[in-house]
């Protein structure tokens, strides 16, 4: 049922030299269980029917592919925005949580745990749990809880319990550690709903498949809107890399499509205040996966920085590490400032306020050159409502 190409995980969850499952024995049975069933569940007619119908009527898919005329004029090309920002809960994250919640139900799990940084995945998880009547516990760094109060309130209103991660740097990576600890302590009734293409195999592959609907739709929509059945470029931002993985998925072995991933370089790649994992690339193991990560000479994982909480992660999904190594995708980075400028530009040219994460993808436009016949798809992974406090502060509105 699954056709795998050289850019996808093999049966051990390896993407070239990246991926795998570097987990303590305590998590081994959970991971083995999930590994044994996820492909069959996703491939089953019952799952597909339920998932598709939720994506359509609950999430609001297909999300439009919008030709941004004024933006295109400025860059003298044809820019299409894949509008994940119009999804229920405001980002691509819901595609994944709706899918994983169905997998959890098929596995008979009663309790869902999730990690969150900005709170988008936490909200999407709490939403899916409310929909299915499952208990939901979201781990969030103490620092992020303070920074992202509206999303904390949304999760609570949705009935989730938000638990503060108080160790380490008290941000996303520590929230992920806490979620993994919870799973160690509750191996039987609990399902860990990971929010990106990170973590031990099978998570990177499972999450990529659940986000693959993005590229499936792009493929269809671009052939309706242009005289070709493929875009020349697909551009997406990368934190862990789920919206990028979903945007790339059905184009991976179509080399005519140039794939571009944009990381957050914070104050600049060499500033020490950055989240540009690939740019600083050093191989290692983070949260159960072998990939590129930011670490000290002693192998301690270092704290990243980006203005966008969703990109503020010191690792990157193993598939992206592989796409970088094989030159299948080009990796760029954008600073806080460049992302903010791109956000303001999109808002004033197109009347769309983007999420800060997505603004990093938009910032790539100034770093690339296109011809006037190119079709350039940019995934707008989320809307900017959650970032209004930052925009107000930075732009003085």
């Amino acid at each position: 049922m699954s056709t795998r190409n050289k850019y996808q995980a093999d049966e051990n969850g390896m993407y070239g030299q990246f991926g795998g499952a570097y987990i303590p024995e305590m998590l081994y049975p959970n991971i083995e269980n999930l590994k044994a069933v996820y492909e069959d569940i996703i491939g089953s007619a019952a799952f597909q029917q339920e998932y598709k119908s939720l994506l359509k009527d609950y999430v609001g898919r297909p999300s439009p592919l919008y030709l941004a005329k004024r933006l295109s004029e400025k860059y003298q090309t044809n820019i299409y925005l894949k509008r994940e920002d119009l999804n229920h809960t405001g980002a691509h994250k819901i595609n994944n949580t709706v899918g994983q919640i169905l997998i959890a139900k098929h596995m008979g799990k009663e309790r869902i745990i999730a990690e969150t940084g900005a709170g988008q995945h936490g909200v999407a998880s709490a939403t899916a749990c409310a929909l299915m009547g499952l208990k939901c516990v979201v781990y969030m760094g103490e620092v992020d809880i303070k920074r992202q109060a509206p999303n904390v309130a949304r999760m609570k209103m949705l009935g989730a319990e938000v638990k503060a991660a108080t160790s380490g740097s008290r941000t996303l990576k520590d929230a992920t550690n806490e979620a993994l600890r919870d799973w160690i302590c509750n191996p039987e009734d609990t399902f860990y709903l990971i929010g990106s293409v990170v973590g031990p195999h099978p998570y990177p592959d499972m999450v990529a498949r659940l986000q693959a609907v993005i590229s499936e739709e792009i493929k269809q929509q671009i052939s309706e809107k242009t005289n070709k059945d493929y875009p020349d470029y697909v551009i997406a931002c990368v934190g862990g890399g789920s919206n990028a993985a979903g945007s790339f998925y059905h184009f991976l072995d179509d080399e005519r499509v140039k794939l571009v991933a944009v990381e957050a370089s914070g104050m600049g790649v060499d500033s020490g205040e950055t989240a540009a994992t690939i740019a600083l690339g050093d191989m290692g193991i983070i949260h159960g996966s072998k990939t590129y990560l930011m670490q000290s000479d002693d192998g301690q994982i270092t704290e990243p920085y980006s203005i966008s909480a969703g990109l503020d992660y010191p690792g990157i999904g193993p598939q992206h590490a592989h796409l970088f190594d094989t030159n299948r995708a080009q990796f760029l980075s954008a600073t806080d400032k460049e992302a903010l400028d791109a956000a303001l530009q999109l808002t004033q040219l197109e009347g769309i306020i983007p999420a800060l994460e997505s603004s990093h993808a938009l910032a790539a436009l100034d770093k690339m050159t296109f011809s006037e016949n190119d079709s350039v798809v940019i995934t707008l992974s989320g809307r900017g409502d959650k970032d209004m406090a930052t925009y107000m502060e930075r732009f003085g509105f």
Partner: protein, 255 residues
Amino acid sequence: MNRLQQLFRDKKDICSVYFTAGYPNIDDTLPVLKALEDAGTDLVELGMPFSDPLADGPTIQASSEQALENGMSIKRLFEQIKDMRQTISMPVVLMGYFNPVFKYGIENFIAKCKEVGVDGLILPDLPFDEYREKYLELFEEAGIANIFLITPQTSDERIKLIDANSNGFIYVVSSASVTGAKKEVEQGQINYFNRVNNIGLQSPRLIGFGISNRSTFKTACQHASGAIIGSAFVKLIGEHGAEGSKIEEFIKSIK
């Protein structure tokens, strides 16, 4: 016969202690080790602090954080213990997460372990299959034991596989939990210890996680060659540092 094999041949009720290297002060590593040996400890798991210790509870997390803040690193650890075999005769195994070891370079790391007289390694997130394919030979040539964990969720079949590839001891994680002191051992745990004992394993076993006092230690010793005390001891040195009399008092209160 190496130090670990000798220990398991000669001793019952093995009292093993985990502590974090470089904690509470960076140069406490060797003094704590020495005080433990003097107090009659049989085996030490020396923890290599890591920024993201995902199998550890609050006590060991906090000690790792403090040790890293103190400037602890693998390099520094090998400097601290380079002459330990002049004063320490009990077996010493290093315990930590895979990333710092991977970053250090596994070949170099194993060579260094051999050079300073480390007897074994516990790297909970080094996958069993990867160890067998890539590193088993390296470990065996250097005479370094690789010690695996098993848990209540580990199947008999997998326990047998782990047993067949173990050359030190098996670390029996006492319950589905992260590290942390508990006050008692429950019946469910005893059933699990009995299940493991009935498999007929060749490797000796030590029970760890949640062993904190004489009662939990003695109960565990009825079901294995001995037990490992971690968080309770880390708490003690957190309060009293490498003070020999306190460490002696603690070990006497357990054994």
